[in-house]
């Protein structure tokens, strides 16, 4: 595909010229505006939508996806992808679930983090070693790891220690622990991108991998690191998820989450081929989808219609966001 955006402009924006400063501002704020309009719409139809409690509920609902979406976005910015996150989530959930009874909470958590990171490293090594399309490799591990998870857990795993489940429902300073974790992950991601050298190096990889290699960046190293980080945060997300539902269903946990995460991150304006992107917009992307799903349920929209609306919102929001970058 194409990287040269400034030149493309002429090609496609016939009739989409930005004329005044006003439209400029409107367009820059496309995603926030879309969110605001959608929120207003839901508020008018279901006033309870606008309550603090509902927004906190949304924050908890998106917390897992957000925790995965942040490292996932960095990976995408570097021009890589990890489609195996859903299966890895299930595997980590199963490992944690099995671990609690045999190892105790602390060791089980550590083990889970190791397994999650391990899967990430495996992906990273495969992708870097063979310089394969990350898509096909992680499609492979998506299937493989799901099999492993189901094989480890032929019987449902549930009923975890209360000390662990606290994570899933307790609040600190009025906010659920899960929300705090999510905020911490966002802050961490933002800090890495803004202040650390690796932030620029990640983008460099996505812009021009060959050039990055020639100027001496650790192309493979950064790739593996990013996959490992994704695996690590998937493990965190698995712990969050499992603590919330007090169960680790190997067959259904995290199924299709790779598509939700990908959609949110793309909606957040990270191009599929990487090379740019802002975590702030990724956060908005995740939030938009979470809010949409919440609002549609509150409005009791029938399945077919809510599918149609979700599809439309996706397309419109993406188009709006595209106008911004014109």
């Amino acid at each position: 595909m194409i990287s040269d955006t400034s030149e493309q402009k002429k090609m496609f924006n016939l009739g989409l010229k930005q004329t005044s400063n006003w439209s400029d501002i409107a367009i820059t704020a496309a995603l926030p505006v879309a969110i605001a309009l959608l929120a207003l719409f839901f508020f008018i139809n279901v006033p309870v939508f606008m309550t603090i409690n509902n927004w906190i509920a949304i924050s908890v609902q998106v917390s897992t996806i957000m925790t995965i979406a942040i490292p996932f976005a960095l990976l995408l910015m570097a021009g890589k992808i990890d489609l195996s996150v859903g299966s890895n989530l299930a595997l980590c959930g199963v490992v944690a679930g099995l671990g609690f009874s045999d190892l105790g909470i602390f060791s089980a958590i550590i083990l889970t983090l190791i397994v999650g990171t391990g899967v990430g490293v495996l992906n990273g090594l495969l992708v870097s070693r063979f310089d394969m399309s990350p898509i096909i490799i992680t499609l492979g591990t998506l299937t493989l790891i799901r099999g492993v998870a189901q094989w480890l857990a032929p019987h449902p795993i549930f009923g975890f220690p209360e000390d662990f489940l606290i994570i899933g429902y307790e609040r600190i300073l009025g906010l659920p622990i899960l929300t705090w974790i999510m905020l911490a992950v966002i802050a961490m991601g933002a800090a890495v991108m803004a202040f650390l050298p690796i932030g620029a190096q990640i983008i460099a990889l996505g812009v021009n991998q060959r050039a990055a290699f020639l100027i001496g960046l650790r192309v493979k190293g950064i790739g593996i690191l990013l996959y490992a980080a994704t695996g690590f945060f998937v493990a965190i997300a698995a712990l969050m998820s499992v603590s919330r539902i007090n169960s680790a269903p190997a067959g259904t946990l995290g199924v299709g989450i790779e598509l939700s995460v990908l959609t949110a991150v793309l909606l957040g304006g990270v191009p599929f081929n990487g090379g740019k992107g802002s975590l702030f917009r990724v956060v908005l992307g995740v939030w938009l989808l979470g809010m949409l799903s919440n609002g549609l349920i509150l409005m009791n929209v029938p399945t077919e219609l809510s599918l149609m609306i979700t599809g439309l919102v996706l397309i419109v929001a993406a188009c709006l966001d595209r106008l911004r970058t014109k």
Binding site: G199, A200, Q201, F213, L214, I215, G216, R218
Partner: protein, 517 residues
């Protein structure tokens, strides 16, 4: 017939690039269109060809306006363009590249044999006989790809042909052939040509008229007989004293910094030379002679097959540019767009990216102040225009982007020992070229060893303390204190023929060896 540009204006955001340009190209004549880096030449040509849309003004071919047309429609009006940056497709064959979108068909099907025949004719006309038209473009070097693009433009049989720095990546042989082709087309087919170049000595060979663009306006237009090269360089970059440049040999340190012994890659070698600190080695050769491959091998970017490379007396085997860099060996690659520029990065990011987390900017957190400061220093040293640290890399004109690429290694305290430059002045204007040379000399005097590979014999002569001549991958000669560029060119040409025979001889030798076993 005329191709006329009338009062064309174009700005990017608040920066006005073209401030009302009038230009006139005429059938049967060649117009040299000159200007400093960033003057707006490519922008203007892009507006003509539909790659960009001008803000106001008009473009006329005969009576018809070209304003707002798509590139395809502009072609249909008889205007063909060779862009400064390659617009060719590496996973298609040479023939496919030439005929893309203009295929010769029998019914709906492509007539492969007819296409191949015409492709061969075109390539021969362009003085290239060793390109197989059915081979994929990715098998060709940068220069050979350019030839293919030119062949495509000729295939279109245009009324006007626009060439934006066509010879920047060509060696002297192909450049000559191109000049001949242009001359023929102008006299026989009466086409009109707009020719952009930074090689001023070309002007008198090809052009009939010269137009100078400065600061977004036309400075003057004159018949080529009335102007000298000095006039031209004055007009392009008025404030440069070009004659004052002097390489000057470093005599302080005679220890060997870099020693290459019988080095071989898959195509190049065996190569032997040594470099002392503060010495500049030029590598000259024709297109496809293996300069790029040699430099990449030295920088750890491609594999070495045999031989040794030692730095400061220690033998080194680099597996990646990173390992070479940790020893202070850096490479500036030739293909800017594909291999060194980060198009969406700001100027300052582009400049400092290799150093982030490294010696110069080794802090755990980035220090934006320090980065900006470095940029300002380099921008001043190389006269980067505009000196805006936050402008995106892709928004710089070709020459200025190139300055940033070289500037990366001019940052103080980067621990540089050997700098490898592949076509460092490709697309750099006459003024800036000397600024770059000056910077290299300063670097040299600080004790850095430099290797410059170039297809510009003049450049090699001016810069180098010694010159290595490559022909078809073989080391043909190693000359100390080169002074005559004609000599280099002659050697390189001869090498091309000799090694051909050599190759044959080698094959025989191998055959014999096989028989003996």
């Amino acid at each position: 017939m005329f191709l006329k540009v009338k009062n064309l204006k174009k700005s990017y955001g608040s920066a006005a690039v073209l401030k009302g340009v009038d230009l006139e190209a005429q059938s049967g004549s060649v117009l040299a269109f000159l200007g400093a880096n960033g003057a707006g030449k490519s922008t203007l040509l892009g507006c003509i060809c539909g790659a960009q849309d001008a803000d106001t003004g008009d473009i006329l071919i005969g009576e018809k306006s070209l304003r707002g047309l798509m590139p395809r429609e502009v072609q249909d009006h008889g205007v063909a363009m060779i862009y400064q940056h390659s617009q060719a497709f590496e996973d298609l064959s040479v023939t496919e590249n030439i005929f893309l979108g203009r295929e010769i068909k029998i019914g709906q099907r492509i007539n492969h044999s007819a296409q191949k025949k015409i492709a061969l004719e075109l390539l021969t006309r362009l003085g290239v006989d060793n390109i197989d038209p059915s081979v994929d473009l990715k098998k060709l070097g940068v220069g050979e790809r350019k030839i293919v693009e030119i062949a495509r433009a000729l295939m279109l049989k245009p009324k006007f042909l626009i060439l934006d720095e066509p010879t920047a990546s060509l060696s002297d042989k192909e450049a000559k052939a191109l000049h001949k082709v242009i001359q023929q087309a102008v006299t026989n087919e009466c086409i009109g040509v707009i020719y952009v170049t930074h090689f001023l000595d070309e002007i008198h060979k090809v052009a009939n008229k010269v137009t100078i663009l400065r600061d977004g306006k036309i400075l003057w237009t004159q018949p080529v007989e009335d102007v000298s090269i000095e006039d031209l360089s004055d007009a392009i970059s008025p404030n440069n004293d070009l004659t004052s440049f002097k390489s000057g040999k470093n005599t302080r340190d005679h220890s060997n910094r870099l020693v290459i012994n019988d080095l071989k890659t898959s195509f190049v070698g065996p190569i032997n030379f040594s470099l002392t600190p503060g010495e500049i080695l030029g590598i000259y050769g024709l297109m496809g002679s293996g300069r790029t491959e040699l430099l990449e091998c030295l920088a750890g970017a491609s594999t070495k097959k045999e031989g040794t490379q030692s730095l400061n007396g220690k033998e080194k085997n680099y597996s990646s540019p990173r390992s070479a860099l940790s020893d202070g060996i850096a490479l500036v690659a030739s293909d800017r767009k594909e291999q060194s520029l980060f198009s969406s990065f700001t100027a300052v990011e582009n400049l400092v990216i290799p150093h982030l987390g490294q010696t110069v900017f080794s802090g755990f957190f980035r220090s934006f102040e320090k980065e900006k400061h470095s940029f300002e220093k380099v921008a001043k040293l190389l006269n980067i225009q505009p000196p805006d640290p936050n402008l995106q890399g892709q928004r710089f004109s070709g020459g200025n982007a190139q300055k940033i690429m070289v500037g990366r290694w001019l940052i103080d305290d980067s621990g540089l020992q050997v700098l490898l430059l592949d076509e460092p002045t490709q697309g750099v204007d006459i003024g800036a070229r000397f600024e770059l040379y000056q910077a290299l000399v300063t670097l040299k005097q600080s004790g850095v060893s430099i290797i410059v590979a170039s297809s510009d014999a003049t450049e090699v002569c001016q810069l180098s303390d010694k010159v290595l001549i490559l022909g078809r991958g073989q080391q043909v000669a190693l000359i100390d204190n080169p002074h005559s560029e004609e000599h280099l060119i002659k050697l390189a040409h001869k090498a091309e023929h000799n090694t051909q025979n050599c190759d044959a001889g080698l094959e025989n030798a191998e055959l014999k060896a096989g028989v003996m076993q």
